[in-house]
C-alpha cells in the first residue's frame, strides 16, 4: 500500500471533524459550569461525554485500522453553490431592513440566475422573472393575509 493510499484509508477529514466535535464538546462542558441547577446540566453532560468518547474512538480507529473513504462527490460548480448560500443568507438578513417582499423577490431572481443552465431565450427572459414575481407575491399574500403571519415590512420604509 502506498503512503497516499494509507492516508486516504485513514480518513483524515473524518478525524479532523471528530476533533472539532471534541472541541465543541469541551466548549459546551465549560458552559455547563456556569449552570446553577443540576437539572440543567445532567443530561447535556451525559451527551457531551458520549460525543467526546465516540469522537476519540473514531480518531483512534482511523489511526490504527484506517477508516476507509466514504466521501461524497463535490463535483459541480462551486461559485453557484456559494452564490446560492450567500443569496439566501443575505436575503434573510436584509428582510428586517427592506421587507420580506423586496428581499424575497431579489433572492428568487438571484437563485434563478444561479440555477439557469439553458440559454436565456427571449421567452425565458420575460416569462421566468414574471412567474417568479407571481410566486413570491402569491406566497406573500397567502402567509400575510390568509395565514396572518406578520411578515416583516422593512424598518427602512417605516
Amino acid at each position: 500500500m502506498t503512503s497516499e493510499r494509507r492516508a486516504a484509508g485513514r480518513d483524515l477529514p473524518g478525524s479532523l471533524i471528530a476533533a472539532a466535535f471534541i472541541l465543541i464538546g469541551a466548549l459546551c462542558w465549560w458552559d455547563t459550569t456556569d449552570m446553577s441547577d443540576p437539572d440543567s446540566y445532567v443530561f447535556p453532560r451525559m451527551v457531551i461525554v458520549l460525543m467526546i468518547a465516540f469522537s476519540l474512538l473514531l480518531i483512534l480507529r482511523n489511526l490504527l485500522l484506517g477508516g476507509g473513504r466514504h466521501h461524497l462527490s463535490t463535483a459541480g460548480s462551486w461559485p453557484r453553490r456559494v452564490g446560492l448560500v450567500a443569496a439566501m443568507l443575505l436575503g434573510a438578513l436584509a428582510m428586517p431592513l427592506v421587507g420580506f417582499l423586496p428581499s424575497g423577490i431579489a433572492v428568487f431572481l438571484a437563485i434563478m440566475l444561479l440555477a439557469m443552465y439553458d440559454p436565456w431565450t427571449g421567452f425565458r427572459r420575460v416569462v421566468f422573472p414574471l412567474v417568479g414575481f407571481a410566486i413570491v407575491v402569491g406566497f406573500f399574500v397567502l402567509f400575510s393575509e390568509v395565514l396572518r403571519v406578520p411578515l416583516p415590512l422593512g424598518s427602512l420604509f417605516e
Partner: protein, 507 residues
C-alpha cells in the same frame, strides 16, 4: 355490531362529506409545504368551525389533520424535505425511490399506507378508546426516555458509512436540542452570548435546513435534472403499489398498530411513531440492507404509522381530556369553545357528536386515497417537469418563508441556512444528517424523561430501580437491544448454520 352505527348516516350528510373532502384536500396541500405543519393547518382553520355543529367541526378538523400528516410525504419523497416532522422517516426511502425514477410509485405506496394507517387508528378510536386510554396513564417519564432511546437506535440503521460517525451525529443532535432556555430550570444553555440562539433551535426549521438545503446546494451546482424523467406516462402505478402493500401487509398492520399506540402517548407524536415503525420494519425485514436505498416498505411503515397517530391521538384527547399530539391540543381547545366536555362519559353522554365525528374521520381517511393520488400525481409531474431555474428558487424561497412563519423569527431562517450548509459539509465526509435530526427530534423527550426519572430516582435513592425496574421500560429496552443487535445476530446465524452444515458434510 359497530358502536354508534346509528350515527353513521349523520356523518354522510352532503355537508359533512363536503367538509371531509375539502378538509383532506386543504390539509394535504398545507402539509406538503415545508414549514407548514399539521398543527398550523388545524390552528389556522379553527375559527371556521366555531359557527358549525360540534360533530361537523370535528370532522373538518380531523380531515385537515389527517390530510396534513399525509401531505408531508410529498415533499419528503420529491425534495428530501419532510413537509411535516412526521414524514422524516419517509425521506429515508422515499427520496432514493424518487431519485431512481419511482417517485410516482412512492407517492401511491405512501397514499395506500396512509389510508390503512388512518383506518386502523380511527377503528381503534371507535372500538377501543376507553381501555387504550389507560395505556397513556401507564407511561411515566422513564418510559418516555426509553422510547426516545428506542427511536435513537435507528442511528445504527441510518449510518451507512460508519456507526461511530452516526453516533457522534446523534449526540450532536441531542446537544443541539438543549440549546436555549432550559424548560425545567430556566438556565440559559449553549448560546455563548448569542441572542439568535436564545429561543433554541426550532425543530421544523432545522429539519428544512438539514434535509432541503443540501439538496438545493447540489441541484444548483450541476445542469442535471433533479429527478429522472419517465419515458412515457405511467399513470398512478396504483396496481404496483397495491401489490407492494399486499406483500407487506404485516408491515402495514404492525406499523399502523405502533402508530396508534404511540399516538395515544401524550406528546410523542407522528415523528416518533414513524421512526419506531421504520425501525421495526427494518428489523423484521428479510432484506434490511435495502432500507435507506429506496425500499417501498420503509415508506409504507412510516406513512401508515404517522397517519395512525391521528386516531390514536384522539383517544386520550376525547377520553381523558389530555391531547395526544400537538394538533389534538388545538382541537381540544376548539371543542371547549364549542361547549363539548371531554372525559370518560363523552362516549355515552354525547355519543351523537363523538360517533358522528369518528365515522366522519373514517370517511375522510378513505377520501384521502383519491384526493392524495390526484394531488400527488400533480406534485410529481410539477417537480419532474419544471425547469431547474424555476424549481430551485421556488423551493429556496419556500424554505425561507416556511422557516420564518413558524415563530415569526428571522433567526430561524438564518439557523436553517447555516445548519443546511453544515449538514451538506458533514455529508461530504460520511457524517449523515439523519442521526443529527433524530437527536434533535428526540432530545426534548429524552431529556425530560431522563431528568424527571433521575430526580425521582435520586430522591428515592434507587436510580437503577428507576431506570431498569419497571416492566414497560424493560420491554422497550429489550426492543431497543433487539433493534440494535438483531441484524448482527442474523448475519451470524446463517453463517453458523453454514458452518454446521459444512461440518456435517465433513463427517
Amino acid at each position: 355490531m359497530l358502536p354508534g352505527i346509528e350515527y353513521f348516516a349523520a356523518a354522510l350528510t352532503p355537508f359533512n362529506v363536503a367538509l371531509a373532502l375539502g378538509g383532506v384536500a386543504a390539509g394535504t396541500v398545507v402539509g406538503s409545504l415545508p414549514g407548514l405543519t399539521a398543527t398550523m393547518a388545524v390552528a389556522v382553520l379553527v375559527p371556521l368551525t366555531f359557527a358549525m355543529a360540534p360533530a361537523s367541526a370535528l370532522i373538518l378538523m380531523g380531515a385537515i389533520y389527517t390530510g396534513a400528516i399525509y401531505g408531508g410525504a410529498y415533499a419528503a419523497i420529491l425534495l428530501n424535505t419532510p413537509g411535516t416532522p412526521s414524514a422524516i422517516g419517509t425521506t429515508f426511502d422515499g427520496y432514493p425511490m424518487a431519485k431512481r425514477g419511482d417517485g410516482d410509485l412512492a407517492i401511491s405506496a405512501a397514499s395506500l399506507a396512509s389510508v390503512v394507517g388512518g383506518l386502523v387508528g380511527a377503528l381503534a378510536l371507535l372500538l377501543l378508546a376507553p381501555p387504550l386510554a389507560e395505556v397513556a396513564l401507564a407511561f411515566g417519564p422513564m418510559e418516555y426516555f426509553w422510547l426516545a432511546i428506542f427511536g435513537l437506535s435507528l442511528i445504527a440503521a441510518l449510518s451507512e458509512a460508519s456507526l461511530l460517525k452516526g453516533l457522534i451525529g446523534g449526540c450532536f443532535g441531542l446537544l443541539l436540542s438543549t440549546i436555549g432556555v432550559a424548560e425545567i430550570s430556566s438556565d440559559v444553555r449553549f448560546t455563548f452570548g448569542s441572542r439568535t440562539l436564545l429561543g433554541g433551535i426550532e425543530i421544523v426549521s432545522a429539519l428544512i435546513g438539514l434535509y432541503c438545503i443540501p439538496v438545493l446546494i447540489d441541484m444548483v451546482a450541476t445542469p442535471d435534472r433533479h429527478l429522472q424523467v419517465e419515458a412515457k406516462p405511467r399513470g398512478f402505478r396504483l396496481r404496483e403499489a397495491l401489490t407492494i402493500s399486499w406483500r407487506g401487509k404485516i408491515n402495514l398492520l404492525r406499523s399502523s398498530i405502533i402508530g396508534t399506540l404511540v399516538g395515544i402517548l401524550p406528546g410523542a407524536g407522528g415523528s416518533i411513531a414513524g421512526l419506531v415503525a421504520y425501525s421495526e420494519a427494518r428489523r423484521s425485514s428479510k432484506h434490511p440492507e435495502r432500507y435507506g436505498k429506496g425500499e417501498p416498505d420503509g415508506v409504507q411503515a412510516t406513512e401508515s404509522a404517522n397517519n395512525a397517530t391521528v386516531g390514536g391521538g384522539f383517544i386520550p384527547t376525547l377520553v381523558l381530556g389530555i391531547p395526544g399530539t400537538p394538533p389534538d391540543a388545538v382541537i381540544l381547545g376548539a371543542l371547549l369553545v364549542q361547549g363539548v366536555r371531554t372525559g370518560p362519559n363523552l362516549f355515552t353522554e354525547q355519543g351523537s357528536i363523538v360517533y358522528t365525528f369518528i365515522y366522519g374521520l373514517l370517511l375522510a381517511t378513505v377520501l384521502m386515497l383519491p384526493v392524495g393520488l390526484v394531488i400527488g400525481r400533480y406534485a410529481y409531474r410539477s417537480i419532474v417537469t419544471v425547469p431547474k431555474a424555476m424549481l430551485v428558487p421556488t423551493v429556496g424561497f419556500m424554505t425561507m418563508i416556511g422557516s420564518y412563519a413558524i415563530r415569526n423569527n428571522i433567526s430561524d431562517v438564518v439557523v436553517m441556512i447555516v445548519l443546511g450548509v453544515f449538514g451538506w459539509g458533514l455529508g461530504r465526509f460520511g457524517f449523515a444528517v439523519s442521526p443529527i435530526v433524530l437527536g434533535l427530534i428526540l432530545g426534548a423527550i429524552a431529556e425530560q424523561g431522563f431528568v424527571q426519572a433521575w430526580t425521582i430516582g435520586s430522591a428515592m435513592d434507587d436510580l437503577p430501580g428507576m431506570f431498569f425496574g419497571r416492566p414497560i421500560s424493560l420491554g422497550i429496552v429489550a426492543l431497543t437491544l433487539l433493534s440494535l443487535f438483531y441484524p448482527l445476530l442474523r448475519a451470524r446465524l446463517p453463517a453458523r448454520r453454514g458452518v454446521v452444515r459444512e461440518a456435517s458434510y465433513d463427517e
